[in-house]
């Protein structure tokens, strides 16, 4: 990686975020492995990256805290943040008539509000560098319905709309903004809903892995993807095709 700068992956102590951090490190980026609570998980990710010859640091920050987010995205020894993967997210499921205000607000604030605040904080340095990659982890839920996830769907559909508009705003400075929409991926967030005949409904006949998503993120972060912006890349084994 000849280019100066560092990659930040939010919510990277496990699952898709951890896989993205490892993939970006493998591509040569020094990576800030962000976590909120799971310090042990984040340290494990850093250890795996270092064992593979990469560079990484675990950085604690709650993405819902604007000041912590600013610190997470500040330039460091490795240079400015030029790759940002907005992955941190949460679910508070329930049928819409039974969703509490807090369930709604928390999901929107973390899944959408924090994506905006992180992107806003990171863009000035990317614009000055004439290079930047913002990759937002959305979901197939949002473009598609999923009963019991009105708040989550709204947040992820919001992320896609946000992605497209920001992409258009900054495209002429070599900064790309894209979304990745994972389908059913084996992670802690989905463990409870997997099983049964779900795999039979997926054309690829298997549940996805965090690596399937990370491979796409790695591509979108690369120099080769410089003409890909404002798009959503669906990674779901054909589920929503």
């Amino acid at each position: 990686m000849a280019r100066e700068g560092v990659a930040v992956v939010t919510g990277a102590s496990r699952g898709i975020g951890a896989a993205c951090a490892e993939a970006l490190a493998e591509a040569g980026w020094p990576v800030r492995v962000n976590y909120r609570a799971d310090e042990a998980g984040a340290r494990e990710v850093v250890a795996r990256i270092e064992a593979a010859g990469g560079r990484a640091a675990a950085v604690r920050a709650d993405v819902a805290d604007p000041e912590a987010l600013q610190r997470l995205l500040a330039p460091g020894e490795e240079g400015p943040v030029v790759v940002l993967v907005n992955n941190a997210g949460l679910r508070r499921d329930g049928l819409a008539p039974q969703l509490g205000d807090e369930d709604w607000e928390q999901v929107i604030d973390v899944n959408l509000g924090a994506v905006f605040r992180a992107t806003r904080a990171a863009l000035p340095a990317m614009l000055r560098a004439r290079f930047g990659r913002v990759i937002n982890i959305a979901s197939v839920v949002g473009p598609q319905a999923n009963a019991g996830q009105a708040n989550y769907a709204a947040s992820k559909a919001g992320v896609i709309g946000f992605t497209k508009t920001v992409a258009v705003e900054v495209a002429r400075r070599g900064v790309t903004v894209n979304a990745v929409c994972p389908g059913l991926i084996e992670t802690a967030l989905t463990a409870e809903i997997l099983g049964g005949d779900l795999e039979q409904r997926i054309p690829a006949r298997r549940v996805g892995t965090p690596h399937d998503v990370a491979a796409c993120v790695r591509f979108l972060a690369s120099e080769e993807a410089s003409y890909v912006t404002g798009t959503t890349l669906t990674v779901d084994g054909g589920l929503s095709a």
């Binding site: 863009l123 000035p124 614009l127 000055r128 705003e169 900054v170 002429r172 400075r173």
Partner: protein, 82 residues
């Protein structure tokens, strides 16, 4: 430590910033309009970042939406710092 936002300091930083963004120094004056200098909306975002780094003054979208000339940008920064 932020630089003191005197009229002279701000003018120098804004002029240098605009040159860095591709403007011809010979065309710069207080009266020059951003449109004539081909300073676009993203240039203004970058200029705002330069100003913030140098003087600790934050310029938001609302602040700069009615600004037309280089002189108005300079006066805005000086007044916001004061």
């Amino acid at each position: 430590m932020a630089t003191e936002a005197t009229k002279e300091n701000v003018e120098k930083v804004i002029y240098d910033g605009l040159v860095e963004l591709g403007t011809d120094r010979a065309q710069l004056s207080r009266e020059a309009t951003l449109e004539d200098l081909e300073v676009d909306s993203l240039d203004l975002v970058e200029l705002a970042q330069i100003v913030e780094d140098e003087f600790g003054v934050e310029l938001r979208g609302d602040d700069v939406k009615d600004v037309e000339t280089v002189g108005q940008v300079i006066d805005l920064v000086v007044s916001k710092a004061g």
